[in-house]
């Protein structure tokens, strides 16, 4: 049997790959690198977008820490850039809050929803299932450009409001400030950007300028950006699902897919079902702000000592339901691809098949499914019915079970392994450690009773930064170090990689573990300064510790940045399969040619993680290795049968 057969006879009479198949690579810089239809280029575009965003978010987080630790200090540079937000260089409380809002929004939406899914997913999902591109290349390109538009709008939100110097200069030139004043509900309130938090709760976010600084044009643009992002993610999700269902190559049965593919698939389903709800919510919020409706605004409000007569009848809680119906699945959208990459990388460098492949797949789906029924755990304290709070609470703790199964399987994969401690492997191990550390406090927050104290304290911040802020980010780092050679044909520097890993791993623990303690003491979130409260005094050493750790950790990221760009040009050349991995992306050149498999269609013979196969010539057998060559490994064939309880990697599909 040949390893690859010509394209034409590989598909049924219907369109199959044909629809997506564009034969000649485009020529010309613009078509090739800017408005490219190639999923690989789009994937890299997404990654670069996320890379840019993550550093913006990182800088914001450092500024936040500076303000929390030295509230009265003047930072002259800031004063020059943000004349209104940081007059004389001292950050104003509204400036701080807009940093919080932007940091959260950028990190959640433009980093953790774009890079793992839009970036790695786009690049590797088609290759790993043996397809030549996504199902809808044009749609794919549109998704990216829509996302970019969302980011531009979000960044604009920082500047339209307040900063008078900026407004005046713009006024003369493009009239942006005037536009903001006239159509978006006005600027000039002396701040930067929206200050509603990434959750944008009304009525604060719905009332407009009257609710104080940071609720004018910037807030409008913030919601608009989110709505744009929803559309982009929706289109992307639709594309992923179609590609995965329809374009798997011969022999790539579902149960032979790498776990990365499963995670992108699950994530896409979550995105497809949750983003439309946020979109609807966002539209309603915009209507409230600009069409005079009151979906989220009750009657008889007295804001800034003025009775509002034009609004009545709405409910702020409705927004919370819509937001969290999206928001909770969203946090799994952020983590699932990280879990997929971790499983993939752990197995590869443990040189062992993944432990409990099927259990991993089911756990992922269980997490996804349950994820739609627990949104209320963000709303225990919101004034929602206490009885529904109880139901949400029990379901919330149940979601810990599949997560525990996954953790267990990761440990099982390492058990009896022959671990190669490469840089991606270190980050994957870091992921496991951090995910457990962060996930476990979810079980505290998930209890209605305990949330009475813990809600909206730094304990919550500690929880979600560990699990999302860094576990998921570690998944991304692992992915970058692992796939960089495939994407760019060069290895990243190991030395720099190790120098990056150790301080980062220690650093993030040093940043986020003390936040639990602050939460226990009772420190509330979204406070521009803690100086007002005596009971917080004893946390001051911790606050300082966290800040120092954050600055060091942030600085260490520059090593990563340097490594990334340096290796692009100077890295050691990578072969096709530098890690001796098994999946399809390692069966093609690095970087892969325009249509991935050179117009041929690969055939897949086995599950994704055949490492340590006894008697096989090497300690790994690729998915594309035909059986004749692997056949001198008799044990391989019976893998599914041994001992009765060993689950094969789905070798049985289509047979029983």
């Amino acid at each position: 049997m040949s390893e690859a057969v010509p394209h034409a006879d590989s598909h049924g009479p219907e369109e199959g790959h044909a629809a997506a198949h564009h034969h000649t690579p485009p020529s010309g810089f613009i078509r090739k690198y800017i408005f490219s239809l190639d999923h690989k280029v789009i994937g890299i575009q997404y990654l670069l977008l996320a890379l840019f965003s993550v550093f913006v978010g990182l800088i914001m987080s450092v500024l936040m820490r500076l303000n929390l630790t030295w509230p009265d200090h003047k930072w002259p540079l800031l004063g020059t850039i943000f004349k209104a937000g940081a007059p004389g260089g001292q950050m104003s409380p509204e400036f701080y809050l807009s940093l919080v809002t932007m940091h959260g929004t950028i990190m959640v939406f433009f980093v953790l929803t774009t890079a793992p899914q839009g970036g790695f997913g786009n690049y590797f999902l088609p290759i790993q299932i043996g397809a030549d591109d996504m199902a809808f290349p044009v749609l794919n390109m549109l998704s990216f450009w829509t996302t970019l538009l969302g980011l531009v709008v979000l960044i604009t939100a920082i500047f339209v409001e307040g900063s008078t110097a900026f407004s005046i200069s713009l006024h003369a030139k493009s009239g942006l400030a005037k536009f903001a004043e006239t159509y978006l509900g006005g600027g000039g309130s002396g701040t930067i950007g929206p200050i509603g938090g990434w959750t944008g709760y009304p009525t604060l976010s719905a009332l407009g300028k009257i609710a104080g600084p940071g609720q004018g044009a910037g807030a409008t643009l913030w919601i608009t950006s989110i709505a744009i992002f929803c559309v982009a993610s929706l289109l992307g999700a639709l594309n992923f699902i179609t590609t995965l269902l329809n374009m798997r190559t011969r022999g790539m049965s579902l149960m032979r897919m790498p776990l990365t593919c499963w995670s992108w698939f699950t994530t896409a389903i979550l995105a497809l079902l949750s983003f439309p709800v946020l979109l609807a919510g966002g539209i309603l919020l915009l209507l409230d702000r600009h069409a005079g409706t009151s979906f989220f605004i009750p009657g008889n409000l007295v804001v800034s000592d003025q009775l509002l007569t034009q609004h009545a009848g709405g409910s702020p809680i409705l927004w919370q339901h819509l937001f969290w119906f999206f928001g909770h699945p969203e946090v799994y959208i952020a983590i699932l691809p990280g879990m997929g990459a971790t499983s993939h990388i752990l197995s590869t460098f443990a040189r062992k098949p993944i432990f409990g492949y099927r259990a991993m797949v089911f756990a992922m789906f269980a997490i996804g499914l349950l994820g739609f029924f627990v949104w209320g755990h963000h709303m225990f304290i919101s004034g929602m019915s206490p009885y529904s709070g109880m139901a949400f609470s029990v379901l919330t703790l149940c979601i810990g079970v599949p997560s525990a199964v996954k953790t267990f399987n990761w440990l099982g994969t390492l058990w009896g392994a022959r671990i190669r401690f490469t840089v991606p492997m270190l980050f994957a191990i870091g992921f496991v450690s951090l995910f457990v550390a962060g996930g476990i406090t979810g079980l505290v927050l998930g209890q209605t009773s305990l949330d009475l104290s813990m809600h909206d304290t730094y304990f919550v911040l500690a929880h979600f930064h560990l699990v999302m802020g860094v576990a998921a980010i570690f998944g991304m780092f692992a992915g970058i170090y692992f796939w960089f050679p495939k994407m760019f044909g060069r290895m990243m520097s190991d030395t720099l990689g190790y120098i990056h890993f150790w301080p980062t791993f220690v650093g993030v623990y040093a940043i986020f573990v003390p936040m639990h303690a602050m939460g226990l003491v009772g420190m509330p979130r979204r406070y521009a300064s803690f100086a007002e409260y005596v009971f917080l005094n004893k946390t001051h050493p911790l606050v300082m510790l966290v800040t120092v750790a954050a600055i060091v950790t942030a600085a260490v990221q520059l090593i990563f940045l340097f490594n990334f760009f340096w290796s692009l040009f100077k890295g050691r050349r990578a072969g096709d399969n530098p890690w001796e991995a098994t999946t399809l992306e390692w069966a093609v050149p690095s970087p892969p040619p325009f249509d991935n498999f050179g117009g041929r269609v690969p055939t897949v013979y086995r599950g994704a993680y055949e490492f340590a196969v006894p008697d096989a010539p090497e300690d790994y057998v690729m998915q594309t290795t035909p059986d004749e060559r692997a056949a001198n490994a008799p044990a391989l064939a019976g893998a599914g049968e041994q001992g009765g309880e060993v689950t094969g990697n789905g070798h049985h599909d289509g047979h029983h």
């Binding site: 269902l245 409705l318 819509l322 019976g638």
Partner: protein, 224 residues
């Protein structure tokens, strides 16, 4: 052990790779997925509507038989019959009768346009009576009538009404445009493309079958 039995062969089942498991092309599958997600957008709006309606002390039921109910029923019939013509269009296209398919699509578009015209007329009527997204136009007919009959009515009536029907109207409008393109290019498009446009159109119809009872029929004014 039967060495090769398990490993060698390429699974031949639908899900084994190399085939289209649902036996539908990408575009059709994509349309189904789009429909699923769009359905969720509408669900969110309708759930929001139900939420505010249930949590309000009183909800106005101002739709008199004429013109609102009369119109909306006619509109429903328009959409229903346009679904029928769409079915016929797909059938004609399946048999390769492209000209017939184009004619049926034309019929569908007429149904859709009629719906739009009636709907806009109906909107205009309500706006004239004083209904607004933000409540009621003070001094208008509705303002007086409502103050008397539903003094505690939630002002969100107009907001939910215009938001939901507006989004639906937008879908009908894009649907008509979409069908127009398909009809124009009927010679070059594949049969599946006609089917896909049909899917979209039926979906838009289906949504109306929720909007109509929830928004209109639950707000019928029996007194008038």
């Amino acid at each position: 052990m039967s060495t090769h039995a398990h490993v060698d062969t390429v699974p031949a089942a639908d899900w084994g790779g190399g085939t289209l498991p649902y036996r539908v092309g990408h575009r059709k599958l994509g349309m189904w997925l789009f429909i699923v997600s769009d359905a969720l957008t509408f669900s969110a709006l309708l759930v929001g509507y139900s939420y505010v309606r249930l949590s309000s002390a009183e909800w106005a039921t101002p739709f008199a038989f004429s013109p609102s109910i009369l119109f909306s029923t006619t509109m429903t019939l328009c959409l229903l019959s346009s679904s029928f013509t769409m079915v016929m269009a797909v059938r004609a296209s399946a048999h390769g009768r492209r000209r017939a398919a184009r004619r049926w699509i034309g019929g569908t578009m007429v149904g859709g346009l009629a719906f739009l015209v009636l709907h806009i007329y109906e909107w205009a009527h309500l706006i004239e009576e004083g209904l607004r997204p933000f409540g009621l136009n003070p001094g208008s007919h509705f303002a007086h009538e409502w103050a008397e009959r539903w003094p505690h009515a939630s002002p969100l009536f107009g907001a939910t009404f215009f938001a939901t029907t507006g989004l639906h109207m937008f879908h009908v409008f894009t649907g008509v445009c979409y069908l127009g393109v398909v009809a124009m290019r009927i010679r070059s498009v594949k049969h599946e493309d006609v089917e896909i446009s049909g899917l979209y159109w039926h979906f838009v119809d289906l949504v109306w079958m929720f909007v109509f009872p929830l928004i209109y029929l639950l707000s019928v004014d029996f007194k008038a």
